[in-house]
């Protein structure tokens, strides 16, 4: 455990110093842990575990957008898990409320068996469509088509700086949409 935590802390320090590869490795390395945690949380709340991926993505976005609040002198794991816990509680609360509303609204048409869930399409994909066109195009290109910032810039005839700004704003708007959801 300690080896893993120290590795994360080191990776995040390198990331802060501008090392993009370290940052990518860090996100890859925390994701399975976050996923397991989200599944466990959902299971304990009696929720289907197939929503875990949405929660994981929500956590990753928050980690990304709030990483300036990490104190470089402090270990990374407690900071990460604090965000993860916060997002999990949020998600459970949201789903809890939604289920309650459903029962209220559709009490008479609910069959005795719980309705089969439609397959979870990651929430983020739905929200992508609602973004301002520039942010959406940039995110589509970088996240969905795996293009680099450079390639995206030339494809959309934007400057690389503008792509960077649109990407960052797009990620922030996605996080805001997930929060409002």
């Amino acid at each position: 455990m300690h080896g893993r935590d120290d590795e994360w802390t080191d990776l995040m320090r390198s990331a802060n110093a501008g090392d993009g590869v370290a940052y990518h490795r860090l996100l890859k390395s925390v994701t399975p842990v976050l996923r397991a945690g989200a599944r466990r949380g959902l299971a304990r709340a009696g929720q289907p575990p197939d929503q875990a991926e949405d929660i994981v993505q929500d956590i990753l976005l928050a980690v990304h957008l709030k990483r300036q609040t990490w104190d470089t002198e402090a270990p990374f794991a407690p900071w990460l898990f604090a965000i993860a816990r916060n997002k999990l509680i949020d998600a459970l609360r949201r789903r809890g409320r939604r289920i309650f509303v459903n029962i209220d609204d559709f009490a008479e048409v609910i069959p005795s068996e719980p309705p089969a869930e439609t397959l979870p399409q990651a929430e983020i994909a739905d929200h992508l469509a609602g973004l301002p066109p520039r942010q959406r195009d940039v995110l589509q290109s970088i996240a969905v088509q795996s293009e680099s910032i450079k390639a995206t810039a030339s494809k959309l005839s934007m400057s690389e700086g503008a792509v960077r700004v649109a990407l960052h704003r797009g990620l922030a708007s996605l996080a805001a949409k997930l929060r409002r959801d």
């Binding site: 501008g18 992508l128 996240a143 700004v165």
Partner: protein
């Protein structure tokens, strides 16, 4: 979008980092404080006998009380902007201002008084105090909340309440230069009420705005 793709997008964005909360809050206060000061100066202004009043220790104590609230509140709001932070022992810092106020109250009680207690408590302009401090604190509260949005507080309402405390403390520091009521009894009553009002507004706004 699958998670790997999202990670890829996040990693591509790794150079864009938001400002630290401390920087953001410092900037916000540097913008908002002059606004509040200007509001005070063009409306009610300083009290006419400001220079003589400075020789009255109870006049000076008002600034001490309000700053002893504002500064710890600033420190604690920065602390709480981290996701893993809890209030814990930091809350003791907030007792500094009430402590000074109580000491001033006792000091006043022990002095021979020309004005009766009830008059000292009601002062000359309690309603102005009760409305001016909240109004003056609005620009500061707005700016502070905006800055604290950079943070990731575990309890947004608590973080918002702290933003309320810091803005009420700073607004009250400025208002104290106008306020002609120097009795600690007056301060303990009306300044506290005004501060509670701003804190409640901060908590309500924070619950919405500081959620991350």
């Amino acid at each position: 979008m699958d998670t790997d793709r999202l990670i890829q997008a996040l990693a591509a964005d790794h150079e864009q980092r938001d400002r630290r909360v401390g920087t953001a809050l410092a900037t916000a206060l540097l913008v908002a404080l002059p606004v509040t000061a200007a509001m005070l100066l063009v409306t009610i202004g300083f009290r006419p006998d400001f220079m003589t009043a400075m020789r009255n220790p109870f006049f000076d104590t008002k600034f001490l009380v309000t700053l002893a609230l504002a500064i710890p509140a600033i420190v604690i709001s920065l602390h709480l902007s981290r996701p893993e932070a809890t209030l814990g022992r930091w809350i003791w810092l907030l007792l500094l201002s009430p402590f000074i106020l109580v000491a001033a109250l006792i000091a006043e009680m022990m002095m021979p008084q020309r004005t009766p207690m009830m008059m000292r408590l009601m002062g000359r302009n309690s309603m102005l105090c009760l409305s001016a401090i909240p109004v003056l604190s609005l620009p500061i509260l707005g700016a502070a909340l905006y800055a604290l949005r950079q943070g990731a507080p575990a309890r947004p309402a608590v973080a918002g309440a702290l933003a309320g405390l810091l803005s009420a403390g700073l607004a009250a520091t400025l208002y104290a230069a106008h306020c002609v009521d120097d009795s600690p009894l007056f301060v303990a009553t009306w300044y506290t009420l005004a501060t509670a009002l701003v804190t409640a507004v901060g908590a309500l706004a924070g619950a919405k705005l500081l959620k991350y």
